[in-house]
């Protein structure tokens, strides 16, 4: 995106709703997988110069697992799911149906479980969006990196900055209430996706009004 003045309050609300719809569906999927209650926060919508993103997103030198995939099709975008490193063992315990605290090492099987989790979360996130916006969304296979939040974000921002000066980020927190495991889902549309999003939102809003 190169001119943020195009975005008014209506679209900010609409983007927030997209985060809600996507993350809500992802939380339901995760909840079914692990048999625990999963909640989501109110999504944050940020439209800021790319260089400023690290100052605004709560990104620091904390280590996280970042699951990243690209979306092609009608709405080119990036999706990033992050979990705090400290939570990964407990999270994989839940995924593998083991008592929390059973594991002490993030082995290959657990890494693979995390990737699978990424596929399911992002898949359900995208399905909800595709249905709501009536768009064709084609995801790549997710890639996983375990590193600082800053370095992971940095990589996505650099890719984005090839075409855009501003970033639109829709960030939704998902959390498991019992053991306080928290993750974040970021939806970051590509520069040329904005127009499509706005039109699809208008159409969807129109459908809702008429119905």
């Amino acid at each position: 995106m190169n001119d943020p003045s195009e975005i008014n309050a209506f679209y900010k609300d609409a983007f927030q709703e997209l985060g809600n719809i996507g993350a809500g569906n992802a939380a339901t999927a995760l909840s079914q997988m692990v048999g625990r209650t999963i909640s989501t926060s109110v999504p944050k919508v940020m439209i800021i110069p790319i260089e400023k993103v690290p100052e605004v997103v709560d990104s620091n030198e904390n280590i996280v697992a970042g699951i990243y995939l690209k979306v092609y099709g009608d709405l080119p975008a990036k999706i990033l799911v992050t979990f705090e490193h400290a939570d990964l063992l407990a999270l994989t315990d839940l995924l593998m149906g083991q008592p929390v605290g059973a594991a002490s090492l993030l082995n290959e099987m657990r890494i693979s479980a995390l990737k699978e989790l990424g596929t399911i979360l992002t898949g359900s996130f995208l399905n909800a969006l595709a249905k709501f916006l009536d768009l064709q969304l084609i995801p790549t296979v997710p890639a996983l990196a375990i590193d600082t939040m800053l370095a992971i974000l940095n990589t996505l921002l650099v890719e984005l900055s090839q075409d855009a000066r501003y970033a639109l980020l829709i960030q939704t927190e998902i959390f498991e209430t019992e053991t306080r495991l928290t993750g974040n889902i970021f939806l970051i549309p590509e520069a040329d996706a904005l127009d499509t999003m706005v039109k699809a939102i208008q159409k969807a809003a129109g459908v809702i009004d008429a119905g």
């Binding site: 190169n2 030198e61 974000l153 090839q162």
Partner: protein
């Protein structure tokens, strides 16, 4: 402990003696550290992209964002302050490729990290600045502390410890 001066994305800063230049979370970005051993003066840029000519918005953002505009801007300003380019030596850190999809880098055969490193090195050659150290490529993110007193660049990673170059 020296005072930390933070260098954000697409930014560059100068530091002396008791200070320390720091930059966090280099993924595919590159930190360029210039050091004048005689005056114990350090300058560091956090460069995001190889070439300003490939983007549409280049006039609106900091020159330090791109390899081709960062180095010339830094050298001109340092010269203006009385530090000619002949005195400087360089170290280059970053340019990782953190996410690979099925063994292949995003964005074709050469990822942005690699292209950043190559572009920065080409600019150093163009202005005759000797490259005296580097820690580039790989898959790990990096943070950097750069000490003007000694010229040491400390590279820190999340999972693989730290090393001085």
């Amino acid at each position: 402990m020296p005072d930390n001066i933070k260098v954000g994305m697409a930014d560059w800063k100068i530091a002396r003696l008791q200070e320390c230049l720091v930059t966090f979370g280099l993924g595919s970005c590159v930190a360029l550290a210039l050091w004048d051993p005689q005056e114990k003066l350090a300058a560091m840029a956090h460069i995001m992209l190889p070439d300003s000519k490939l983007v549409r918005y280049r006039k609106e953002v900091s020159a330090a964002k791109f390899a081709d505009t960062a180095i010339i801007t830094m050298l001109a300003e340092l010269n203006r302050l009385g530090f000619p380019k002949e005195r400087f030596q360089a170290k280059v850190v970053g340019g990782a490729n953190m996410f690979t999809f099925a063994g292949k880098a995003i964005g074709g055969n050469m990822n942005i990290g690699q292209r950043n490193v190559i572009a920065v090195k080409e600019e150093l050659v163009r202005y005759g600045i000797p490259l005296v150290g580097e820690d580039t490529g790989g898959t790990a993110g990096r943070s950097v502390d750069f000490f003007p007193e000694t010229g040491v660049v400390r590279v820190r990673t999340a999972m693989f410890g730290e090393r001085d170059i």
